[in-house]
């Protein structure tokens, strides 16, 4: 298994190449562009035998993938921010049509005002669309998770689309060492797609008909069940991947030094890395803190969150996005998951790192401290630049 110095974007491209995708359709957007350019090079040079559809928008990119998937192709697309938002109707479509499209997303802030920097609003706002969602912390995880996503999406008990996200620039443009599995290894892990039951030339079938109220709800429930099953299937897949490559990223909610922790911070994406070193630093100073990485946001790891909470008294949830008129999405879902539990840790929501604001060790340390102290508001924006003066309205 060769080790290369790769950007997060190239990690996506290599994963799609190793997955031997049949069809790629994507539209450029900063900071995703390199993913697609690299795949384009692979196709142009003959290293990857795939159809590359040069679409005129992200909306078309996803429709092309969904349609190609209906005919049995393994498909891949990648986007970010506005591009993902523009796909929204088709995100719903992909899950409704049970199209196992795999998509790389570079998390970037949404406009206006324009910003090309890290922010999770784009993908979090897709939480109701029926996509499996993984957030990656390193380029290694990007590559590994993307390969697992293909197998998960196409699993006959699942048949759902999946996205693997990476923070803009912090991963997309950051190069670091990555172990890249060989083609043989991947071929073993991820055989060609099984396309039974899809639309077939010559058959009088139709995928997506008008459906009356007496059956529509039942199709929705099938998706709900498939999503539930995907959580179980993912464990199998990760074990398989581990057997093959020796790497295991710890399931949907890997934890770090939580066993005896007084306070645990829950993070998504690259904030995790820095938070981990903050945990170490604080531990050295005698603070019993720990970390949980919300790696899978869909399906939401309710069971794992409950397990974690069983032994911890304070949990902070860091959202790199904010739902106006509510709170951070991860925070809301963690709170909801823990509602029926008997042991209920104090919960705090930290909203920070929006629009590319650096999540420095200092800011993260502040969160742990606020957790340990137990003060401050339920939902806090700890890194906001504010003046002491009274807020002017209007």
């Amino acid at each position: 298994m060769p080790r290369m110095v790769l950007s997060g974007n190239y990690a996506q491209s290599y994963a799609a190449k190793l997955a031997r995708v049949h069809v790629i359709a994507a539209y450029p957007i900063t900071p995703q562009t390199a993913i697609v350019e690299k795949l384009g090079e692979f196709v142009a040079s003959g290293e990857l035998s795939a159809q590359f559809i040069k679409v005129e928008s992200e909306h078309s990119a996803l429709q092309a993938c969904i349609s190609a998937a209906a005919l049995g192709a393994r498909t891949y697309t990648a986007t970010s921010s506005q591009g993902l938002l523009l796909m929204h109707e088709l995100l719903h479509w992909a899950s409704g049509a049970r199209a196992p499209v795999v998509m790389g997303v570079v998390n970037r802030a949404v406009a206006p005002p324009w910003s090309i920097f890290t922010d999770h609003t784009d993908t979090v706002a897709q939480r109701d669309t029926g996509w499996i969602q993984f957030y990656a912390e390193s380029n290694q995880e990007v590559l590994d998770t993307t390969l697992m996503a293909f197998r998960l999406a196409e699993h006959p008990d699942v048949l759902l689309p999946a996205m693997v996200t990476e923070d803009a620039f912090y991963l997309s443009h950051t190069v670091e060492p990555v172990d890249v599995p060989t083609q043989d290894e991947v071929d073993e892990f991820l055989p060609r797609r099984d396309v039974r039951g899809l639309i077939r030339p010559g058959a009088g079938v139709r995928l997506g008909s008008f459906t009356m109220p007496d059956l529509y709800e039942e199709f929705r429930h099938k998706i709900a069940r498939a999503m539930e099953r995907s959580a179980e299937v993912f464990f199998e897949i990760e074990d398989d991947y581990h057997r093959l490559t020796g790497r295991h990223h710890g399931g949907p909610l890997p934890t770090y030094r939580v066993d005896d922790a007084d306070a645990v911070l829950m993070t998504m994406g690259t904030a995790t890395t820095t938070a981990r070193s903050v945990v170490d630093a604080l531990r050295t100073r005698g603070n019993r803190v720990g970390l949980a990485k919300l790696r899978a946001f869909r399906p939401f790891p309710v069971k794992e969150v409950r397990q974690l909470a069983a032994t911890v008294d304070r949990i902070g949830v860091l959202d790199r996005s904010f739902t106006f008129g509510a709170a951070g999405a991860a925070f809301t879902e963690v709170a909801a998951a823990l509602y029926p539990e008997t042991h209920r840790p104090a919960l705090k929501n930290f909203v920070a790192g929006l629009g590319g604001r650096d999540l420095t060790p200092k800011v993260l340390e502040g969160m742990f401290k606020a957790l340990l102290k137990g003060d401050g508001p339920e939902v806090d924006w700890p890194d906001l630049k504010r003046r002491a003066e009274v807020v002017r309205h209007g």
Partner: protein, 100 residues
């Protein structure tokens, strides 16, 4: 109580979630649906006037004109919606629309 064509699937075996395919894939030919109930007037072909030009066959939007072994056009009563195109287009005026 919702007596239109869209209930036709009730005639099929799709009743509970378990009857459904995992994906919304339709496979039942539409001709299980009889659209005769849409009809107010019925085309009646007078074979003595018919020249077997098959204009009626060609223009029927409901594929409701068949051709029998002898080559005569026949109205497939289950499906004809009574639009009247066949009667209108039949040059020798071999088709009448009659109130059912």
């Amino acid at each position: 109580m919702s007596p239109h064509g869209h209930d036709a699937h009730k005639a099929t075996a799709y009743i509970t979630e378990q009857d459904l395919p995992e994906r919304p894939l339709a496979t039942v030919p539409s001709d299980v649906i009889k659209t005769a109930s849409w009809r107010t007037f019925l085309p009646v072909i007078h074979l003595e006037a018919c020249t077997k030009c098959y204009v009626c066959w060609k223009f029927c939007p409901d594929v409701a004109i068949g051709i029998d072994e002898a080559g005569w056009p026949v109205v497939r009563l289950d499906y004809c919606k009574g639009c009247g195109i066949c009667a209108e287009e039949c040059k020798p005026r071999a088709i009448d629309m009659v109130k059912e």
